[in-house]
Symmetry: C2
C-alpha cells in the first residue's frame, strides 16, 4: 500500500500580479517540501479570471517566464501550478507540473465554460493534446481543470480507464449560494462512478464581481469527503492518501514518471472544515469580496452613506467586519425629509460597530439647488426630479469625501432595488463597490437578523429591522407605495431574472398578472441604470454583472 | 441565360420588437413581389445582437411564431429572413426561406464569432446540418450567414463545388472605420476564387454601442461590385442578375426546388452608391447611432452640457444634425473658472446650429458646497476634489433637466479622455449616451473641421477649434498640464488599446519611455471609471465597451 502525501494549497492570488503571486507560491514551497505533490488552483500563477489580459501576447510571455522562475525553485515535492500556456496560434488554460527545478509536464483544459460569468471561449482555445498520466510518489495521477468535471464525457473516464489512481482537479470556481454542496455532489458521483479518489482544489478570495470561496476537498474512491479546506480562507492542508487500487486496463495512457515512492514519517491527520449555514456562507462571501476589492485595489478605508435604513446598516456591518471598524466612516446626510428615528438608529449602529461617522446635512445645499432652479428657469423641481436631486447631492458629497481622503465609496443598494430601478443613478448608486447588489431585500433582512444572532446581541438595531422601509425623499414616503411588498416582489424577480421566465409564463406560475406586468416593465426599463452601476459581488446563479447581458434598446415585452 | 430578379432589403429592425419588425418586413412584401428573391439581413426578424434575450425560451417561441406569421404572407417572391431557430437543446442563428405562404427551407450559421463585441458561442450553437442548395427563379443558390464568410474553410467552397451559381450572405456586420473596404476586399476574393457572384446583405441602424452601416452589395463572378446600397440608410435595391455559369461537379448537393424561372418585364438598372470618405462615414456613423439610441429608446429630445470646448461643440453638431435642432438643448453651466470666450464661443455655436439653450451658472451652488464643507468639517475642498465637485454639480443639473423634461443626456467625452481617465465619474461622464467615446481627441478636431468644410461655412466656430483645450476647473488650466500633447498621446493610446502592446513593446516601437509609463498607468488605473461610463457608439476595432473586457483589480504593469 502506497502513501501519497498531498498538499492542497488553497491560495488567494491577485489578477495580473505575476511577481506577487510567484512570491505567494514560492513562500509555500518549503512548507510542502515534505509532501509528494502540492496542488494550487486554476490559473494560480496569474489570478483568475484574466479576461482580455489574455489577448496581450506580452502578458502571455511574462506569465511563462514567471512559471519558469517558479519551476526552477521546485524541489522534491511536485508543484501543480495554473498558468496560461500558448503555442504559435493559441492560448490555453493550463497547469504545469514542476519538479526538481523543471517543468515535467502540463495539461491544457479541454472544456471551456462560455456561460454565465465565463467567457473562456473568447480568451482560450480548448486543449486537444492526447492525454497523459503522471506517476508522482508512485501513484498514477490524471489531471483535469474545473469545467472538465462539469461536462458530460469529460476526460475523467478516459484518465481512469487509462490507469489513473487519483484524479486531481484544479479549479477557479466562484461562489454562489449553495455552490459548495453542488460541487461535493458532483465529485461524489464522479468518484463513485469511476471508483477513484478526487482532489478538488479551489482558489479563495475576491476578484471584481466574483468571490472564490475555497472549500477545496478530497473524496475517497467511495465519494466520501476525507478532507475539506476552510471556506473563504487561505490554507494549506495535507493528506496522506493510501491508494490501493489495482489497475487492469487495456487502454493504458502514457505515463510520465515524475517521482517515486517516498517514506513519510508518521501519518498526517487530515482535517475536515465544517460546512457553513446558508447565511453564514453568504455573509462571509460578502465580507471576503468587499475586503479583497478594497485591499487589492490599493485602498485601506471606505465610506458609505448611512441613512438609518436596513440596507446601509447591513453594508456598514459587513464593511466593519471585513475591514475593521477603524477603516469605515459612516456619512449621515439628512435632508428635510429625514425622520428623527433614522438619525438615532444610525447613531446607535455607529456606536454598536465602533466606526467613525460624520453628520452632514444636505438641507442648505438642497435649498440652493431649488432656489437657483427657480431663479434660472422660473419653475420648480418637483416629484422624481427632486427626489433624484437629493440622492445625487449625497452622491456628490460621498465622492468628495472619497476624493479628499483617498477612501473608496461603498454603495448600499440591494438586488430588488437594482432589478426594478428603485434607485438614483449617480445618487445612491454612486460608488466603487456595491456590497449587497446581488442580495434581494428579503435576504437583507435575513442577514441582518443572522448577524445579530451570531453576535448574541444587537449589532444592527432592531428598530432598523422592524420599521417599514423608506427612501425618505418626500414626506411620509414608503417603499410599498411604489413597489409590491418584498415578500411578493422577490420571488417574482427571482423567477424573471434567474429563471428567464416570460410575462406569460410568470402568470402561469401563479403570480398576479397586474403585478407581473408592472414589475417586468420596471426591470426591463431600468437596464440602462444597471449598465452604469458599480461592480459588486455575485452570490446567486445570475447576478447583474457579466451574468446577464441584455440589450439596452430592447422592445421585447415578454 | 436566366435572369434572377434579386431584391436587397437593407432594413433597420429594433432588437426584441417582433411585432414592429414583422410590420417592417411585411410592408416590403408587396414592393418586392415582382422579384424572385428578397434578402433581409442577419436576425432581421428579431434585431441584432439579441445577447441574453436568446437565453429565454419564451422569446425563442415568440420569434418562431412571428416567423410563421411572416411566412404565411410570402408570395411569389421568396423571402430570406433572419431569425433564431431552435431544437430541443440548442438555439441557432438562422435564416428561413419563405415562399408562397410556407417556410421552404432554412440554414443555420456554422461559424459563430466570439471575439471583439461578439458573444455568439454564448448564445448560439453552431449549425451542423448537411448543406443544401435552393433553386429559386431557376438559379441554384447557396446561403451563408456573416462570419461564415470570414473564416478559412467556411461553407462557400462546398456550396459552389456542390453546384451553387450564386452565394447569398446575410449579415449583421457592425461598422468600424474602414470596414466597408474590408468587406468588399473579402467578397471580391471569394467571388474570384470560386468564380461565383455573391450578394452581401447587411443591416443598417444603431443598436446600443454598435452601428450597422448598410453598404450591402453584389459582386459578379469576377468580384466586381455591380450593386451597392447606400451606407447608413434603409433601402431596397433590385438587381437583375444574369447567371450564366454552367455547373459540372461530382459533388452535387441536394437542391430544394423553390420557384422556377419567371419572365421579367424590362431590365432593372442597378445602382451603385458611392463610397464615402473617411470623415463622412465616421460622422454618419456617429449620427446614426445617436439618433437610433435616442429614438429606439422612446425619447425625442436630448440635452448636453456645452462648455465652449471642442468636444461638446462636436457632440452638439452631431445631435442637431441627427435629431434636428429643435430636439437639442445646450446647457451652459459656467463656474467661477470659466473664461469669457467659452461662453461667447458656445453662444455662437448655438446660434449656428439653431438649437435651444439654457445658461445656468453653478457659481452659487459651488460656493455653498464649499461653505458647508468648511462648516461641517473645518477644512477646505481642494485640488482634484474641488475640480470633481464642479463637474458633478453640472452632472446633477443636467440630470435634473433630463428628469424634468423627459430628455436624454448626451455626454461629450472623447476616447483619449476615457482612456486616461481625464474625466469625472458622475460629473461630465453622467448621461445616457456617449456620442464620441470611441473618437480620439485628434479625430474630434478632424471631424469638426470636416463638418465646417462640408457645410461650406463655419458651423463650429474656428475659435473653438483653434484654442488650446482646457477643462476650466481651476485658474488657467490646460489639458497639456496633465497629459502629453494629443498628437503624441493618441497614437500611443491606439497602440496600447487597439494593438494590445505592452509597456516594453511600446518603448521598442519608439515611444518615449517616460510618457509610456505615465500613460499606461493612467489607462490601467481608470478602468473603474470606464466600467461605469455610459454606452456610446463603437467606431474602431476596439472600443471601450464589450470589446475590451479587462479586470478592475489588475496588477499587471506590462
Amino acid at each position: 500500500m502506497g502513501i501519497l502525501r498531498l498538499a492542497i494549497a488553497q491560495i488567494n492570488p491577485v489578477v495580473g500580479d505575476l511577481e506577487g503571486n510567484v512570491e505567494l507560491i514560492r513562500d509555500l514551497i518549503d512548507k510542502v517540501e515534505h509532501c509528494d505533490l502540492a496542488v494550487f488552483g486554476e490559473m494560480s500563477l496569474t489570478g483568475y479570471p484574466l479576461e482580455d489580459l489574455l489577448l496581450k501576447p506580452g502578458f502571455i510571455a511574462d506569465n511563462k517566464n514567471a512559471l519558469n522562475d517558479l519551476a526552477s525553485m521546485s524541489g522534491n515535492c511536485a508543484l501543480v501550478i495554473g498558468f496560461a500556456d500558448s503555442d504559435e496560434e493559441n492560448v490555453y488554460n493550463s497547469i504545469a507540473i514542476c519538479h526538481k527545478g523543471k517543468i515535467v509536464g502540463s495539461y491544457r483544459k479541454q472544456n471551456l465554460p462560455n456561460v454565465e460569468v465565463f467567457d473562456e471561449v473568447r480568451n482560450f482555445s480548448p486543449g486537444s493534446d492526447s492525454l497523459n498520466l503522471f506517476s508522482i510518489g508512485g501513484v498514477t495521477i490524471g489531471f483535469v481543470i474545473c469545467h472538465d468535471l462539469w461536462v458530460p464525457n469529460g476526460p475523467v473516464k478516459t484518465l481512469v480507464d487509462g490507469g489513473a489512481q487519483l484524479i486531481v482537479a484544479t479549479n477557479g470556481s466562484p461562489f454562489h449560494r449553495g455552490k459548495q454542496q453542488e460541487r461535493e455532489i458532483l465529485v461524489n458521483e464522479i468518484s463513485q462512478e469511476n471508483n477513484v479518489p478526487v482532489a478538488y482544489v479551489n482558489l479563495v478570495g475576491g476578484q471584481d464581481e466574483l468571490v472564490f470561496d475555497g472549500g477545496s476537498f478530497i473524496t475517497d474512491s467511495a465519494g466520501e469527503v476525507i478532507l475539506r479546506s476552510p471556506r473563504f480562507h487561505e490554507s494549506v492542508l495535507v493528506a496522506d492518501l493510501s491508494v490501493e487500487k489495482n489497475i487492469t486496463t487495456e487502454n493504458y495512457l502514457p505515463v510520465i514518471e515524475v517521482s517515486s515512492r517516498r517514506d513519510h514519517e508518521g501519518i498526517i491527520e487530515t482535517s475536515i472544515a465544517p460546512t457553513l449555514d446558508t447565511f453564514e456562507e453568504l455573509y462571509l462571501a460578502l465580507m471576503t469580496a468587499t475586503r479583497d476589492y478594497v485591499l487589492k485595489s490599493g485602498f485601506q478605508q471606505v465610506c458609505l452613506g448611512l441613512s438609518g435604513g436596513i440596507d446601509s446598516a447591513l453594508v456598514a456591518a459587513i464593511a466593519s467586519d471585513s475591514l475593521g471598524p477603524n477603516n469605515v466612516t459612516a456619512v449621515m446626510m439628512p435632508s428635510r425629509y429625514s425622520s428623527i428615528h433614522s438619525l438615532t438608529d444610525a447613531e446607535q449602529l455607529i456606536k454598536n460597530l465602533g466606526i467613525a461617522s460624520v453628520n452632514f446635512s444636505i438641507k442648505d445645499i438642497h435649498s440652493i439647488f431649488l432656489e437657483q432652479w427657480a431663479l434660472n428657469l422660473n419653475e420648480e423641481i418637483l416629484g422624481v426630479a427632486d427626489e433624484n436631486l437629493q440622492s445625487r447631492i449625497r452622491g456628490v458629497l460621498l465622492m468628495a469625501f472619497a476624493n479628499a481622503n483617498n477612501w473608496l465609496v461603498l454603495t448600499t443598494g440591494n438586488k430588488s432595488e437594482a432589478a426594478v430601478g428603485y434607485s438614483t443613478l449617480y445618487g445612491d448608486t454612486a460608488g466603487a463597490y456595491a456590497v449587497i447588489k446581488d442580495v434581494y431585500k428579503t435576504g437583507v433582512y435575513d442577514l441582518a437578523r443572522w448577524r445579530n444572532e451570531s453576535a448574541g446581541h444587537e449589532i444592527i438595531p432592531n428598530s432598523i429591522i422592524e420599521k417599514p422601509p423608506s427612501a425618505e425623499l418626500r414626506p411620509d414616503q414608503r417603499d410599498d407605495q411604489s413597489l409590491p411588498p418584498y415578500e411578493i416582489l422577490d420571488p417574482l424577480l427571482k423567477s424573471y431574472i434567474e429563471g428567464d421566465r416570460t410575462r406569460a409564463e410568470l402568470v402561469e406560475d401563479g403570480f398576479d398578472a397586474k403585478i407581473v406586468d408592472e414589475v417586468v416593465q420596471m426591470v426591463d426599463t431600468s437596464e440602462y441604470k444597471r449598465r452604469q452601476n458599480p461592480p459588486g459581488v455575485r452570490v446567486t446563479r445570475k447576478g447583474f454583472g457579466r451574468d446577464r447581458r441584455l440589450p439596452l434598446v430592447n422592445r421585447y415585452k415578454g
